[in-house]
Symmetry: D2
Subunit: 289 residues, 4 copies
């Protein structure tokens, strides 16, 4: 089963230089602490000198009380002895996700709806927008909406205001068709991952107006890409992509509508996977378990 | 029904500036000549001042004998009066297709099988290769194989030899993973359309080594694109595209294998559609009925 | 372009026994009345003695004023002379659609969003439910919500109440996960088409609990089917279907969630296509242009 | 990386009743023997009282020499102590696969071609057919072809002849559109798994003529299903399925052609996955890692 969100489930993410015995070490420590591994995915880019990635989900009665000692044991063995990075997470700790939007509502509403339905297992403490158009929709879901206008010349001030809202309150920022470019300073300051949805199957049609350019180029598929945001626009590690077939008979507006269906599916999958700790960054790419 | 290849079926392709009354004119002429339109697709980029495209399939007893008079009537009405371009084709006239290959066999064999199975409705008078590796495979299908080496410095001579083989003998050239760039002179001289299969979902990963670059970029889909060849490499009008999902766990070699399945499907569809006169070029794009 | 909803666009749907000259007759009449055919799809099940289907979209300045005379001309030629059925529709006349729901909200909300976004080109005069759970959501969109409980023994009375709400007010009823079976009497009385979304790729898993049965059978794909409702449960003409890949690792609840994404896409496409007069019933199947 | 077929790679498949500590036991034994686990997939139907499935790929220098002792250690711990079933396999031991065919060649040729290309990592010691049509094709690949006619009344004798060919010589039988039903006695006698490709997305259109019935039912997707053969026709555990979109405009013959493309992809995936020990039977379903 993919989702385990009861009280006593934990997740352990391990990554680092591959070497023999990592799996045995990890499973040994978990077993010694009384945990039962219910799901385990592992990948190795190359067994000789490659990179190692692992995600385990385990059941451990009274997990919260044992978390610290388990963490210490993992730090001693995995961290100090084997030189690996790891993250230990309680499944019941829901990620706090801020959503940034502009005027398009399809990705936003899809996320709000899935969250209300219990599908995402996240909390959404705020929606931030550079426009006020979607405030009623957001507040109708019982979620705070903050209007932070971004006009020419005030971007730095706007980002500062955004950071004040975010700092300490969120574990993830999702750009759900937010039509402003975030500065490198913002990305550094915010201290949590930022996921964006780009409306093309990257690396095709990087930059602006992808549907217009897709129409002009006569492609037979349009798509969407969810990726982590880095300073290099549209270059960050890809989490998920999908496409839909289009024909010569469809206008740019119709490509946008079809593409919007792909965008919301792709973004919601990326957010769900990230928040279930399924996505591991590996340089400019990702491992998705 | 999509395919009509009995003796008395014809196809009429019309394109040009849109204006009222084209459909009535076309169907009027066909009906007056005793034809029954069994399938008709039409598209208009914009009813006011846009471009018009139409493909009709019709049944006309004793078509061969009536072809010339039908053509004259169409020329008078559509050509001279309405200023449209048209093509009138007997469905029983199979297109003669030359296939160019290098060493990879998957696209070639797929076309040869489909042709043997009667699926494509084409003739394949020759396969031309810059290597001799696939000669036995091709001749096993009873098809002539010509080895025309292309080495540094002799490209012009090689193209001349290829043109000698092709001129007057073929209606289409298909580059089924032919790893040489054809010169602008060749494309002009050959006088028939040339279709290429590119091993990425263009415009992503134009140029060489698309699977290697797909792996490095961490995309979640790999694909293939069949397009008409123009002097601008990988820029010609796209006929068909498709993609397949890949994961972080697959090597470049595995992406190539998965991609090969997409390449052969996409190329065979593009060849079939072209040879059924379903593809109309519209500047740098295509209309596919 | 697929959608034409300006004032002066019309749609003409023709079906009946195939015979030579239908296209010429139709396009002749349209042209004589000053119409420009901007899109035309036609299909013929068999040119000798088969069935003929055609959908034209045309532009005719001042269409409303000319509708009656055009209709008379079509009736004389197509109806009386050629024995064909036809429908002449103004594109600007939006279909009035009633949505029936129970407790699941995903298909309902998807339709309401798309309608609000202008994507569907329909009016939704009412939502009818056998539960009251979704009343706030519906009224939040400014749409009347009617709660008509259906309990054991009162079904006939409930259907009568539903019919009172519907009669004269709607052109289509959409069952967006409405978990009650409508009686044959209701279907006869209501006098408009009824579209249902079934949560499997019919004809697999007809009847109840398709996701549970999909899990037990170990299928690798789950899907959804939109179809016209007939007296034979889950046997009506299929309008649209799609599927999504699932794995052994997903629970029945996870199949339901993935399936829900397919359900809402499939149903929204079916409703859009029906309301654009793209779907023609042909016995137990459909032609979708 | 998915495929590891060098000399020193091994695969360990474990299944049984879930209980805490299995992963630690397995990885402990492997590590003690000097193996490095390069890939590991694990699934548990329910951590309390559910079923456990695991596939590990490991690298162990000089594997062949250590196989016996490793097997003994696993038998003592996993078999006797934990009551689990396991299989230990050397990746370099290629599965020997017999292919059964009738007259249709598409699935056969696809498998032969992939095997020749090195994609499948299998040996094909024989092709067996109830017709002689495909003998030249098969022998052209350098593979023995055996013609075993099956006529009314001689089925038992034919199956005896088939069993004589197979016994001791193969690890898998693949029915690549073999149009005869194998008896329960045959399935019991043959002693190796049998994989079949069914030309529909089971459980829809079980039995004969699925494309004909798909056309009559008006489905919008046709598909194919690869499954293990059991005595209950078309009811065996599903390994892989896929579908392709079709339209009202396609004849039964065209559905067959499109479906053939899906059949060969689905069957080749199922054979590859089986032969890489990725498929674990779980009652009437499968776990595919």
């Amino acid at each position: 089963m993919k989702q385990r969100d009861d009280a006593d489930y934990g997740r352990l993410i391990v990554q680092g230089a591959d070497r023999p015995g990592i799996v045995a070490s990890v499973s040994g420590i978990l077993t010694e602490h009384g945990a039962n591994i219910v799901s385990l995915d592992q990948s190795s880019s190359d067994p000789s000198g490659g990179r190692f990635f692992q995600r385990s989900v385990f059941h451990l009665p009274d997990l919260s009380a044992k978390l610290e000692s388990l963490n210490e044991a993992l730090e001693a063995k995995l961290g100090e002895e084997l030189g690996l990075q790891f993250r230990l997470v309680e499944a019941k700790r829901r990620k706090r996700v801020a959503i940034f939007v502009s005027k398009a509502d399809h990705c936003l509403l899809d996320l709000l709806w899935r969250q209300r339905d219990g599908e995402l297992g996240i909390d959404i403490p705020m929606v931030v927008s550079n426009h006020s158009d979607l405030s009623d929709d957001v507040r109708g879901f019982g979620i705070p909406f903050f209007h932070v206008p971004v006009e020419k010349g005030n971007k730095a001030a706007a980002e500062k205001e955004q950071l004040n809202l975010l700092k300490g309150n969120v574990d993830l920022v999702v750009l759900a068709r937010y039509m402003q470019i975030l500065s490198g300073d913002f990305l550094e300051e915010v201290g949590v991952p930022v996921i964006n949805i780009h409306h093309s199957f990257l690396p095709a049609f990087m930059g602006a107006s992808p549907y217009q350019r897709a129409k002009e180029r006569g492609v037979k598929l349009v798509g969407a890409t969810a990726h982590y945001v880095t300073e290099d626009l549209d270059e960050g590690p890809i989490i998920e992509q999908d496409v839909i077939r289009v024909s010569h008979d469809e206008s740019v507006r119709e490509l946008q509508r079809k593409g919007a269906d792909v965008e919301r599916l792709v973004l919601s999958r990326a957010v769900a996977w990230h928040c279930e700790d399924r996505v591991i960054r590996d340089g400019n790419t990702t491992v998705v378990f």
